[in-house]
Amino acid sequence: MGSRHRQQREGPALTTAVPVVALHGVDKTFANGTHALAPVDLDVRRGEFLTLLGPSGCGKSTLLNLIAGLLAPSSGTIEWWGGGIDATGGEGRRLAFVFQSPTLMPWSRVNGNVRLPLDLAHVERAAAESAATAALARVGLSEFARHFPRELSGGMQMRVSIARALVTEPDLLLMDEPFGALDEFTRQRLDGDLSTLWREHGLTVVFVTHSIAEAVFLSTRVAVMGARPGRVLAEIAIDAPFPRDDAFRVSTAAAAYAATLSRHVRDAGAAAVASSR
């Protein structure tokens, strides 16, 4: 995609630069009194694949919405590339969001859906169309550009949704349990495709899931979260090399990471039960 193509990652030096997103003491209480998130300190580093892992109700989606700027924190500060949310959206500071469901416009064809963020930004039609074509090629749906969303399977709709997020060449991609509603086989395939996209395009991703296996397979780092109130319990690096393939899913290394993550989640669950008694 020409000039805006970013560099491939070049080792650990990049990840120690200015964080993409920096959260300091971010706390969220909703208007109805629900304390969704206790103060969180978290950095999102450039080029990493950070997963927010935890059980339902641990505030991981709330945290992601805060990072997306869809919610404002009750206290604490969030900085994007060292600035406020208003400074995002420009060159080198683009956010994109992939929701739990495909959230496609049913009245618009696949290419129209993918082009949407560019259309809204008044990008010239021909340029937007070619960017959409390229984004669809990345997710392997080139021949479905003229289809309507209802003509596609759930997994394909989700890939259209990812193509729509990629079309703006985002510098930070936020994904809220994107494959949660899909069957296990489709989910594993899409996880593999996503991992490849991330590596090949040097994306920075924050990914929310409640699947430990998915977190181990995809992430360079996992933030384990606990509930009542939601908080980050531990940050665990998954140092296994990429590319990770199906053999990695069943390897002892993966199992060891899964055991570590699962212990943290379980301990948090036990603590939550104890504190609620």
């Binding site: 700027g69 959230t103 309507f148």
Partner: protein
């Protein structure tokens, strides 16, 4: 398409036609068998004959009624949609004005038609206004509901993409509202005709501006019951036709993407 689907398509047309044929047949049989006088219940054959002999008069009246109904439907669609667009601009506007839309809906048209006819000098315009009053509510309420029934995820996506108010309105709210709008239009098409007929009854316009309602009134006074029935048949057929046209419009606009217009087998 499987043979079963093809058969179902035929059944959809044939079954109601069969019901009509049986009903008309029974009606014909009963009027002949019991020798019912024509000024009480004319037989279908007599009604048909009247439709043919009085066709000039009846078709002219049909033209008058239909043009009033169509004009009213057009005005109701335009005004109703604009009102709905206004309502979704702010909750305050909707809260302040929606009760009056309801007021318009619950006021019996026969009660206010005489006033409208007195106030508006041009009778045709007065009749159109009456029919608009009857037809506009489903358009306002359905379209307002539709404009508000926007997928929350898509709305978030638009906001994250820094979409302007106008972009959200025309690229998200309006397409989301289309199925609701067409639902309202179907109801309004029937109501516009009813409104036109009721207003004519009240106005009692004769002469060249005489619509089907006037023919019914006059035929009633003259005990010309076959003509009354013939006019009634024409009104009913017109209503069905209007409904069919709005259904086709809806199909045309939504067929490719909305669940309501997809074949049942999918």
């Amino acid at each position: 398409m499987t043979p079963e689907d093809a058969w179902l398509r035929w059944a959809r047309i044939v079954a109601p036609l069969a019901v009509a044929t049986i009903a008309i047949g029974l009606w014909q049989l009963a009027t002949t068998a019991y020798d019912v006088p024509v000024y009480l219940v004319p037989s279908p054959a007599v009604v048909m004959r009247t439709l043919v002999t009085d066709h000039e008069l009846l078709l002219r009246s049909l033209g008058v009624t239909l043009s009033i109904a169509l004009a009213a439907l057009a005005v109701a669609t335009l005004l109703g949609t604009l009102t709905a667009l206004l309502f979704v601009q702010s909750r305050w506007i909707e809260m302040s004005l929606f009760p009056y839309a309801v007021l318009l809906q619950v006021t019996p048209i026969v009660a206010i038609a005489p006033l409208i006819i007195i106030w508006v000098r041009n009778t045709q315009v007065a009749l159109v206004i009456c029919a608009v009053v009857v037809a506009i509510f489903p358009i306002i309420s359905n379209t307002t509901l539709g404009l508000r029934s926007v997928d929350a995820g898509l709305l978030n996506l638009f906001r994250m993409s820094r979409a302007s108010r106008l972009q959200i309105l025309f690229r998200l709210r309006v397409p989301s509202a289309l199925p609701y709008f067409f639902g309202g239009l179907r109801i309004a098409s029937g109501l516009a005709l009813i409104g036109a007929v009721v207003a004519e009854f009240v106005a009692g316009t004769g002469g060249s501006g005489a619509g089907l309602a006037y023919q019914i009134l006059l035929a009633g006074f003259q005990l010309n019951i076959p003509r009354l029935f013939a006019a009634l048949v024409l009104i009913t057929l017109t209503g069905v036709l209007l409904f069919a046209v709005t259904v086709s419009l809806s199909k045309l606009a939504l067929a490719r993407w909305h669940e309501s217009e997809l074949p049942a087998s999918e």
